[in-house]
Symmetry: C2
Subunit: 262 residues, 2 copies
């Protein structure tokens, strides 16, 4: 018995014929999305043994949906760049999506060390007179110079994120000559200050890549970007690093654990 037979569908109650057709289409689209959501996790966590998904008919039987619904679900995953259909082979996993921890404050190379080598293409590095929106958050005098660093970050050569970093001058100056191409700024900050980092306030948003960011990240224009704003403090509470990071949505998934009571 297909799942819908036992499900109350709120839009379909007492619907006439045209509305009923619309409802059927909607239900199939709903089921396709729901199936895609389940398969996405399997794909992303390496749950497809030989890198291919089960055959369409097997998926249809397992999830008790029509083959059309299965095809529609696979189309959604293909549009996200997670799978491809190869004639004679089936649906193969092509995702290169990496887990980024949301539980602990870590630099990118540190976070992804199991997945490969992070390199940074330094696009901009230097001093700028700090805009008020930067100096206030870094708690330096209005108009004071700050160090500004922009890096395109790659994992195993693949563009992953575009990071813009503002650092107070007294700490940032020492970073200007450092090996920014191969070292996380977090590690450099700890080395330069002789202190551990403490905490960071973060904000995560999903935005569409503008044409320029998309070109830099080698992603399609309008591609979904996971945008992270992060203000990092030393263990003594001083804010030392204000960052705006654009992660390619198709390459990063953030994972963590939340608790009900604090």
């Amino acid at each position: 018995m297909p799942p819908t037979d036992r499900i109350r569908d709120h839009a379909g109650q007492g619907a006439p014929t045209v509305a009923a057709q619309r409802t059927r289409r909607r239900l199939r689209a709903d089921r396709a999305r729901q199936l895609a959501d389940l398969l996405r996790r399997q794909v992303l966590t390496g749950g497809c043994p030989d890198g291919t998904l089960p055959h369409e008919s097997a998926l249809a039987a397992e999830f008790r949906v029509s083959r059309n619904t299965v095809r529609q679900a696979l189309d959604l995953l293909r549009a996200e760049g997670l799978v491809e259909r190869l004639p004679g082979v089936g649906t193969v996993v092509v995702a290169e999506k990496y887990p980024h921890g949301l539980d602990r404050l870590m630099g990118l190379a540190e976070t992804l060390h199991e997945h490969g080598h992070v390199t940074n293409e330094v696009r901009t590095v230097g001093l700028i007179p700090g805009p008020a929106l930067v100096t206030e958050r870094l708690r330096v005098p209005p108009g004071a110079d700050v160090v500004c660093i922009e890096r395109l970050r790659r994992l195993n050569g693949l563009p992953l994120s575009l990071d813009l970093t503002y650092i107070p001058l007294d700490i940032g100056t020492a970073l200007l000559g450092a090996d920014l191409e191969n070292t996380d700024v977090f590690r450099l900050l700890e080395a330069v200050t002789g202190r551990a980092l403490g905490h960071a306030e973060i904000t995560l948003e999903a935005v569409s890549a503008d044409a320029h960011s998309a070109a830099v990240l080698q992603a399609p224009r309008g591609a979904a970007v996971l945008m992270l704003e992060r203000l990092t403090h030393l263990c003594d509470g001083r804010p030392v690093d204000l960052e705006f990071i654009r992660f390619r949505g198709d390459r990063i998934a953030m994972s963590g654990r939340l608790h009900r009571s604090l």
Copy 2:
């Protein structure tokens, strides 16, 4: 002195004329994005007193960039749906973006209670034979029925998220007759089980909305969506709620605090 005069530009070293032009365009696009990133925060945290941004020339002076760069930055914010330009008025903030905590496990109505009233349009509710990918995570026997609920969630009438929820039958059955339109599932789970929720494992991703999800969320096709997968456990460790939530990227920002040491 404009910031670029004191900044090392890595692509521009020794570049000939055509390349130099390209570099100038790239630098302006970079600065526009950098300015947009700063203004985004101001817009989203209510930092624009009367709901309008300062005049273009004031922004150009404050950030020491050209008016063209300012315009390009404002275009980026406009494309994200955060601001609009009104002739004779200037750039006004139109964002309806709400903060969602990343620090504590909370339901949507609970999280947003300061911002208004959350209502849920129940699109689907009923039993389905649990797919293996669901029963394994909810730790119920293979093929066991699970309760499946899909809701379109609105804040003050505006579509915010599309939530698909799977709940084990013994707990979920009691939810079938509950006031799902006005109550968080979290609250119902605690009421039904007589236990507090404990923790949840979450994964956050940025994806582009497929045509169907976009239509349901009343967002443009391809709009950026913040996708949250969440497996919530009772305080005794039992998993009771597997969710797939699509937040409209232009309406939700997730905020939290990370620590360097655990």
